[in-house]
């Protein structure tokens, strides 16, 4: 009987300890899955192991939890605010950090950039009001009505004038066809635009467009 009482007491005490002092866990705000800084570090490590360039985004982000998002989306944990009050779209930044990876084909770079632009369009319904590389990047870096950052300002592929360079070091060529269609061209390995090795994120008649000949055929016109 005494043994049974001791066993019951120990069991109750054990249960009490289990419920009253649960195993410590990280708060949701600091889990690797939701902590942009930690996620960034993880990305960096991964990139480093892969031998790829190491684009990093380290704007000293201060995680403040879920903040109301000025461009209409509220309580979106994918948008975090940095110290300067800018709304950082973490998924877009993550994609940007994967830009020019050795694991991906050059053609995918353009797809990545279009994906980043799509985050901008998701918020503003339109592409940045921009006529060239610098203007596009300014908008993606946060100079827009919602202070929305979809591209890291310290990305290694940004040059000193704010232009986004392709993996061969030539500025991408952005060509705004309409408010929602932005063609993107890389000059390719020869670093000269409008040559056959150009890589294009564009299509004509529903088909992908690449190379100088096709571009000239179409004259890059917008038909009125």
């Amino acid at each position: 009987m005494k043994k049974i009482a001791i066993f019951a007491l120990v069991t109750i005490a054990g249960l009490a300890v289990f419920f009253l002092f649960p195993r410590s866990s990280k708060s949701p705000a600091t889990t690797p899955e939701t902590d942009p800084v930690a996620a960034e570090e993880q990305e960096k490590d991964h990139a480093s192991h892969a031998g790829a360039p190491q684009p990093v985004y380290n704007p000293a982000i201060s995680i403040v939890g879920r903040k109301p998002y000025k461009t209409g989306i509220t309580n979106d944990q994918r948008v975090q605010q940095d110290k300067k009050g800018r709304n950082v779209v973490m998924e877009a930044v993550k994609i940007a950090n994967g830009l020019h990876s050795e694991d991906s084909a050059p053609e995918e770079d353009l797809e990545y950039i279009d994906q980043i632009l799509s985050f901008y369009r998701l918020s503003f319904q339109r592409n940045p009001v921009a006529a060239d590389n610098r203007m596009v990047m300014k908008a993606l870096l946060g100079e827009n009505p919602g202070n929305l950052v979809v591209f890291p300002f310290d990305h290694p592929s940004l040059d000193s004038t704010g232009q986004l360079l392709d993996r061969w070091g030539t500025p991408y060529f952005f060509h705004p066809l309409s408010g929602t269609k932005m063609e993107i061209f890389s000059a390719g390995p020869d670093k000269t635009l409008n040559t056959p090795d150009d890589i294009a994120w564009a299509e004509r008649d529903g088909k992908p467009l690449t190379g100088r000949e096709e571009i000239e055929d179409d004259q890059l016109d917008a038909k009125p």
Binding site: S178, D205, P224
Partner: protein, 547 residues
């Protein structure tokens, strides 16, 4: 171009019907027939007795892709912008030597330090300018509100600007709507057509009484496919699309339907029976509103085909028109084009497509009585100006084509005035537009999208207003990076903020065309946003008279 997706959620039924009005006409034009010769006769007779003495036509010549007009209107000599022109434009700058050899200097009656030339490819246009038949308006573009010179960055950022500056399709739409801060609803020419729709126009009708009161066809005609310039509010006035050959006929019935119709009756063969069946079907009455609308469009297209055929016949046949020989206008075009370009073409079908578009436009002006409109707006397009690359190789040829087309139009209108007693040279005015100007500084081999541009206007009405020789209208920009006209904080590429809005530019044309002063703000609502009056001499826009 992607196939049109009728299921796209972006396209409401109303929008579809409005924006595709001309496409409907075009398609059904192909599916319709001008077989009934009586229809042609009726078309010719329909306007008998109408007074065409007040006829006026506006011809929009659109340079698709955004023409680099920084190299169309060029400072020369002691112009203060010449040094910057050479320094900033570098390898795309046109040398004064080339200009001098081409003889495209402009005799603008202005101060000695305001000397200009047109591009060396524009020899005919330069001559027309010096004869007063062509005028230039400097630094014109889409604006919702005026933006002053030397605007600060903060003021600029706070200003309402056109939607999606620098993108092709948005800027094209905004040049056509002239309401650039709002999504596209209608083109300004479509709004004018809507205004003229009820005859007599105006109540009372001080200016345009009787405009288009005898109309038997749309006053909005495009030779370049559907265009938003001619979209009327709600699609009330459909635009009519013509091919380079004029009316579009059914395929499979022989030339002029000779396989299906003979002696005014259907032939007793498969072609005749097919055509008869087709015409019977489209005359059915339908209970379903969409089916009936479709049938109505088909019938309307048949009638318009008849009218267009009759109108072009006036220009082509010496027996039916004013000209001394058959195909006279074609000869005028061939002579002018060959003389300008150095070709040796002998038939009109050898001419480039855009030249043929202008030819059919001129033919329809010659055959205007068949269409019954005392006012008509025509549209034609020349593409290829989006010269991000190889601009030095491409632009001279493009501008040569423009020069030839303008010269062909001018000579054709003079010829028509010579032989048609009811037509005066000053009844048809060409006005030019383009997506935007291009950057002042080049990229590696071309120039990029910018904003304020230079435009030209040509015709007898321009000559009337410029009897002493033409001049540069509007205000020529300061050609300087970060200068008075450059967009502040804009990467130092030289993108001029327009100082003349499209509303001011078009208002002069619309007033000449017959829109009353009281209706101008209905057509161009942004005029009320603080722009100077286009009729104030200080605005310097009197490139055309007001009546």
């Amino acid at each position: 171009m992607k196939p049109f997706d009728i299921h796209s959620p972006k396209w409401s039924r109303r929008k579809f019907l409005t924006r595709t009005g001309s496409a409907g006409f075009g398609i059904t034009g192909m599916a319709s027939a001008l077989t009934n010769l009586n229809l042609m006769q009726n078309a010719s007779a329909a306007t008998t007795g109408m007074n065409m003495g007040e006829y006026k036509a506006l011809v929009c010549f659109f340079l698709g892709g955004g023409c680099d007009t920084n190299n169309l209107l060029i400072p020369i000599g002691s112009h203060p912008g010449r040094a910057n022109y050479e320094d900033d434009r570098r390898f795309v700058a046109v040398s004064e030597n080339d200009i001098s050899n081409a003889g495209t200097e402009l005799d603008a009656p202005s101060a000695a330090n305001q000397q200009y030339a047109l591009h060396p490819s524009c020899q005919s246009m330069a001559q027309m300018f010096n004869d007063g038949e062509l005028a230039m308006v400097a630094n014109c573009g889409t604006l919702a509100v005026p933006i002053p010179e030397n605007v600060s960055l903060n003021e600029y950022n706070a200003t309402i600007k056109p939607i999606q500056l620098f993108s092709h399709s948005d800027q094209v739409n905004e040049w056509f709507s002239s309401i650039p801060q709002n999504p596209f609803v209608s083109g300004w020419a479509g709004r004018v057509a809507n205004l003229f729709r009820s005859a007599p126009y105006g109540d009372p009708a001080p200016d345009g009484q009787g405009i288009n009161k005898d109309s038997v066809a749309s006053m909005l005609i495009t030779a370049a496919g559907s265009t938003d310039l001619l979209v009327s509010p709600g699609g009330t006035i459909p635009q009519y699309a013509v091919s380079r050959a004029g009316a579009i006929s059914l395929v499979g019935y022989g030339t002029n339907y000779s396989s299906a119709v003979q002696g005014g009756a259907y032939t007793n063969n498969s072609a005749g029976r097919r055509l008869q069946a087709f015409e019977s079907v489209i005359n059915y009455e339908h209970e379903h509103i969409i089916e009936q609308s479709y049938a109505d469009v088909l019938k309307s297209a048949r009638e318009n085909e008849a009218l267009i055929g009759a109108a072009t016949n006036v220009a082509d046949s010496a027996a039916d028109g004013p000209f001394p020989s058959d195909n006279y206008l074609e000869t005028v075009f061939l002579n002018t084009y060959n003389g300008r370009i150095g070709t040796n073409f002998t038939v009109a079908t050898q001419l480039p497509a855009d030249v043929q578009e202008m030819l059919i436009t001129c033919k329809l002006i010659a055959g205007r009585e068949c269409l019954g409109n005392t006012r008509q707006v025509f549209f034609m397009n020349k593409g290829g100006f989006d010269n991000h690359a190889d601009i030095n190789d491409l632009l001279p040829g493009l501008l040569s084509d423009v020069d030839a087309i303008v010269a062909c139009f001018n000579e054709a209108m003079k010829a028509l005035a010579q032989y048609d007693s009811a037509f005066d040279y000053n009844m048809a005015t060409m006005f030019q537009a383009s997506d935007f100007n291009r950057t002042w500084t080049p990229n590696t081999s071309g120039t990029d999208h910018a904003w304020g541009t230079h435009v030209f206007i040509a015709g007898g009405a321009v000559a009337d207003a410029n009897a002493g020789g033409s001049k540069i209208y509007g205000k020529f920009p300061e050609l300087a990076i970060q200068g008075a006209n450059d967009i502040p904080g804009n990467n130092n590429r030289g993108r001029w903020i327009p100082q003349i809005s499209t509303d001011q530019y078009y208002a002069r044309l619309a007033k000449w065309f017959g829109v009353s002063s009281g209706d101008l703000e209905a057509i161009f609502p942004n005029l009320a946003n603080g722009f100077s009056s286009p009729f104030d001499p200080a605005t310097n826009l009197d490139f055309i008279g007001l009546t």
